[in-house]
Amino acid sequence: MGSVNDSDLFPTALKILIAGGFGVGKTTLVSSVSEIEPLSTEELLTQVSVATDDLEGVEKKTTTTVAMDFGRITLSADHVLYLFGTPGQERFWFMWDELSAGALGAVVLADTRRLEQCFAAVDFFERRGIGFIVAVNQFDGGYHYDPEEVRAAIDLKPDIPVVLCDARQSHSGTQVLVSLVQHLIDSRSQHVIDVI
């Protein structure tokens, strides 16, 4: 790392991931809560894949360029929160490893008309032990389900909150982030109790 002598001048940069299927409203959510117009950047990510040639039988590393949308919320002079929308296409699931490194937690955005699209994200965060909540984006014209019905349909653990939201509304989107961070604090307290 370069010079870090002036670290006092810098706020702490934090990251929350917004995951979910394609077209579920991840970028809408990022843009409704972000203080800047959502930006997009391309990152070259490493994918470890098993070679398709059986004779070879070794793992190969390939790289793929993926575009990510992100937004920013300045929480205070000391903390800046970045929100990264994960690419929705399932074939990019491998990149979450790099993207998720160092994340505080994640929001899995779900659309009840295509609930199965959020399974990959739920699976991933459960396995990686990354704290997350499920936010059901209420689309106009879509049938409004009870959060408990959604929980049952995803087969979610009882301690993972399911909240309803309108990703287009800044207030609603911010409330989702509040729910996530509250959940991270609660589950941390629970963990400490378990250890004692």
Binding site: S3, A13, L75, S76, G102, A103, L104, I130, Q182
Partner: protein, 126 residues
């Protein structure tokens, strides 16, 4: 994807005028480790050597603390190109950088004070 249109490609439609890694002199690895969320800021020290237009452009964006991801988005280059340019600027003392906070994952407890600070900041926006 944009639709196929008749006639010449103009402005942004024409794509990049310069191939991406030309800007970084063909280098694909920065000399220092940068994360997308590494924050960078100008030190106010002007380097003695001549800065090319790309480095000058990036340096001009570093007035306040800004993330590598934002710099990359603003200069419309892949993040890796931004990282190479930024590492050059760190090397010549023109900018300073700070790595992002690493939240411990898994069963390690995440810093409670940090989470409380984030919660406070978010609640103020409601």
């Amino acid at each position: 994807m944009s639709e196929i249109v008749e006639g010449p490609w103009l402005d942004g439609d024409a794509g990049r005028l310069v191939r991406p890694y030309t800007v970084s002199d063909g280098r694909t690895k920065p000399s220092a480790h940068f994360d997308l969320l590494t924050l960078v800021m100008a030190t106010g020290t002007r380097p003695h050597s001549y800065l090319g237009p790309d480095h000058s452009h990036v340096l001009g964006l570093c007035g306040g603390p800004l993330s590598v991801a934002e710099i990359a988005a603003h200069i419309r280059q892949p993040a890796m190109v931004a990282k190479v340019l930024l590492s050059d600027l760190v090397d010549c003392g023109a900018i300073t950088a700070r790595a992002p906070e690493r939240a411990p994952l898994g069963s390690d407890p995440t810093d409670r004070d940090l989470l409380e600070a984030v919660l406070d900041g978010l609640r103020k926006r409601l």
